[in-house]
């Protein structure tokens, strides 16, 4: 599977740029770590399974904790630095981290639990609590006092399943609208979109008055990407993915609102002609955006990292904005999709109570000391004190690019929403492949939505 560099909250194959390296080095120095020696210098994409440098050097007598992460090169470097930091504290706990390719992560995790070889800690999305509940254990008995108050409420509540806590959130990340203001300026349109009318007129003008594509709704060849893009527009249109209670969810997007939203999505490459019905690699889309061949696109807060050149600088003359994606039509809520990279605690009868306690201590440390995750990774930390720390607020991402600050605003103002917590692997291509096909003009909207909804309902009913 080809990896995506800006789309996902997944493995990110961006090179370690100078700014990130400086950030990483600064954070490491600030916490007394001797340099960045522990950072894995991995390039590549999402990577094969590998043990990170953090896996060596535990003192005898330490409680050994195994941690599986799916992060790719850049995020893995940041997480590895955090683990090195934790291990360097010499607090009787030693963490061995292992990278698992994202595409195989869930399968390996389920298999590991089934065979009694699960790690103590594993990364996955916060919205997957119900799906992962059968293979993870609740951590309420192991959490430190007041742990709940340290995270943004929305992130904490998202991790509750049937009244118990199953994970700790590392970050809150979401998607919003990037605009290349040079393109917009040359088309003579205002880059401030508050409604669909203004946005669609701007797109039409860009197409008619410039050589650029106006707007890319999705391009990553993955059902997950289509799902996330669709859910932003659907929520603003007043629709839902599912209704009812967990355990008896009913698919809801095959109604009129869902169809109309899918129609709109499909028209971006169809009648509207704002984008071509082709998938590019994500890096190619970023290159188009930077080169002025693409006016606007929906992408994650962290995607800005990929705008920088090898010197850690933005291309000369690039003038871009990052704004809340609240231009879609409808009477729904002005909320955008969000997700949290989180730390879960897989079930393993071989794990002792001391190990479980140590695993939660490690997770609390990583989720509450992760300024690096913001300054170098581009994510809003889920711990409030970290998100609002001067280290984070002084970054270019907060002050100049406005990505993390916008995300912070959205979280603070209740303008983000997690996807439904279903018992099924809801991000699967099985359910959202038809949406990619609609975007590619390979299928009509009615057929695509119906196929998607039927497949999801069938899975929910199992």
């Amino acid at each position: 599977m080809s990896r995506n560099t800006t789309e996902s909250d997944e493995p990110n194959s961006t090179k370690l740029t100078r700014r990130r390296a400086l950030s990483a080095g600064g954070a490491a120095l600030a916490t007394g770590i001797a340099g960045c020696a522990g950072l894995t210098g991995g390039g590549g994409s999402g990577g094969g399974s590998s043990s990170d440098g953090s896996g060596d050097g535990g003192s005898s007598g330490d409680v050994e904790i195994d941690y599986w992460m799916y992060f790719g090169a850049q995020e893995r470097e940041e997480m590895t630095a955090l683990i090195e930091d934790f291990n360097a504290q010499d607090n009787g706990i030693h963490v061995n981290a292992q990278g698992i390719p994202f595409s195989e992560f869930l399968n390996k995790l389920f298999t590991a639990v089934n065979s009694g070889n699960a790690p103590h800690v594993a990364s996955y999305y916060g919205s997957y609590g119900r799906h992962l509940k059968p293979i993870t254990h609740s951590i309420d008995d192991y959490l430190s006092d007041g742990a709940a108050n340290k995270y943004f409420d929305i992130a904490w509540e998202n991790l509750q399943v049937d009244g118990s806590t199953y994970a700790l959130p590392i970050d809150i990340h979401g998607k919003a609208l990037y605009t290349n203001d040079s393109v917009l300026e040359s088309a003579g349109v205002d880059p401030d979109f508050s409604d669909w009318q203004a946005f669609s007129e701007a797109c039409d003008t860009i197409v008619s008055d410039t050589d650029s594509r106006a707007f890319s709704f999705l391009n990553w060849n993955s059902g997950q990407a289509a799902f996330r893009a669709y859910i932003i527009a659907l929520t603003q249109a007043g629709g839902d993915i599912v209704t009812g209670d967990p355990g008896s969810y009913e698919v809801a997007y095959d109604d009129d609102v869902g169809m109309q939203t899918a129609e709109l999505m499909s028209k971006v490459t169809g009648d509207f002609g704002w984008d071509t019905p082709q998938f590019q690699s994500d890096s190619a889309r970023v290159q188009d955006f930077l080169a002025g061949d693409l006016g606007m696109f929906i992408a994650g807060t962290w995607s800005v990292n990929n705008f920088e050149n090898e010197s850690g600088e933005l291309p000369e003359g690039l003038d871009f904005s990052f704004q809340k994606p609240f231009m879609f039509p409808g009477d729904g809520d002005e909320v955008a999709w969000c997700e949290s990279n989180s730390l879960y605690f897989p079930t393993n009868s071989n794990h002792t109570d001391a190990e479980k306690q140590a695993a939660v201590e490690f997770a609390e440390y990583v989720t509450q000391n992760n300024t690096l995750w913001a300054s170098a990774g581009g994510h809003l930390p889920a711990a409030k004190s970290v998100a609002t720390s001067s280290e984070v607020k002084n970054t270019a991402l907060w002050q100049d690019y406005g990505t993390i600050s916008t995300m912070y605003e959205m979280v603070s103002d209740g303008q983000v929403r997690y996807q439904p917590k279903t018992s099924v692997h809801i991000n699967s291509n099985r359910f959202w492949g038809p949406f990619m096909d609609m975007y590619l003009q390979n299928t009509d909207v009615q057929t695509g939505v119906t196929n998607s909804a039927n497949a999801l309902q069938q899975a929910l009913d199992q």
């Binding site: 492949g433 990619m436 096909d437 390979n442 899975a459």
Partner: protein, 307 residues
């Protein structure tokens, strides 16, 4: 050998002979020799095969197999009503229908062409065989890159399709077929070349003396003598192509519009995406039955009456 030892051996031999008659003794010795293979076969093939059958009759609980529910043939009944299964079966048949004739044709042409002692034929044999040593991962990723938007294949054949053919519901399957033929034809070429080289040259010389032309010699000498090899190529490649997974997984993820979702890909999704292992096992067993049927049909149609 001392007299005592000889007596002991005779006594042992007679006890062995007393216990078992000759045919049983031979059977036991044969089984003993075959035991290493039989153990591996039982552990890695027979057990999974029987376990798969057992699972296909249950709604399988992945995490707690003891809590699985027996559902009889319900999974098979569901399968017959599942449009995704029929779509996957159709796609698989389409893939096999395009790939097998192409593989047989290409490998036969290459084998006949390179049978001659031409300058550079050894090098060409190596070149044609070499793709086969690659893993499906390498082949899939390289060809997917070539035919991605902006890829060299997409650019080169831009006159044929607009944009990436892997995003086109018409072109995605043909590209996977071509990829597969490029990858595998080399192996079957080697098989057919070996078969062709076993045909006695004197037959051609005699035929030429009798005034037979190239087509007549091909029809009446080459083909009959290569029949068994061709039968092997057809059956082996058919069975192999029915199990296609890596190429669509790496190149198209079964899309667009499910047009390249094959049976094994569908099985994978059931097993590892939605974790419906009982239903997935039913799909697997259905595929097994299809393969047995196809093999028998191939044998009856293409050969099988050889003296």
């Amino acid at each position: 050998m001392s007299n005592v030892e000889a007596t002991t051996d005779n006594r042992t031999a007679s006890r062995w002979e007393q216990l078992f008659d000759r045919s049983t003794r031979e059977l036991l010795v044969g089984l003993l020799f075959a035991a290493p293979y039989l153990v591996l076969f039982s552990v890695f093939l027979l057990y999974p095969l029987l376990k798969g059958l057992y699972m296909s009759l249950h709604e399988w609980n992945f995490l707690e197999p003891s809590k699985s529910t027996y559902v009889g043939l319900e999974n098979y009944a569901r399968l017959l009503e599942d449009p995704a299964f029929w779509n996957a079966l159709w796609n698989t048949l389409e893939f096999v229908g395009m790939t097998v004739p192409l593989i047989v044709g290409v490998s036969l042409v290459l084998a006949l062409g390179l049978n001659k002692e031409l300058k550079g034929s050894r090098l060409l044999q190596f070149v044609y065989f070499s793709p086969y040593v690659l893993t499906v991962s390498v082949v899939g990723i390289v060809w997917a890159q070539m035919f991605a938007q902006g890829g060299v294949g997409t650019q080169y054949f831009g006159w044929l399709f607009s944009g990436s053919p892997l995003n086109s519901k018409f072109w995605a399957m043909p590209v996977i077929v071509v990829t597969t033929v490029w990858w595998q034809a080399g192996f079957y070429f080697a098989v057919l070349l070996a078969a062709r080289q076993n045909v006695p040259e004197r037959l051609y010389e005699a035929a030429r003396l009798d005034g037979a032309g190239p087509w007549r010699m091909f029809r009446d000498i080459t083909l009959p003598h290569m029949k068994n090899a061709l039968l092997f190529v057809v059956i082996a490649s058919t069975i192999f192509q029915f199990q296609v997974f890596g190429q669509p997984y790496l190149m198209t993820k079964g899309g667009p519009v499910g047009n390249t979702e094959t049976l094994v890909y569908y099985l994978y999704e059931l097993g590892f995406q939605t974790r419906e292992l009982g239903f997935g096992a039913a799909v697997g067993y259905t595929l097994l039955l299809i393969l047995v049927g196809v093999s028998v049909l191939n044998y009856v149609l293409v050969g099988g009456n050889d003296e």
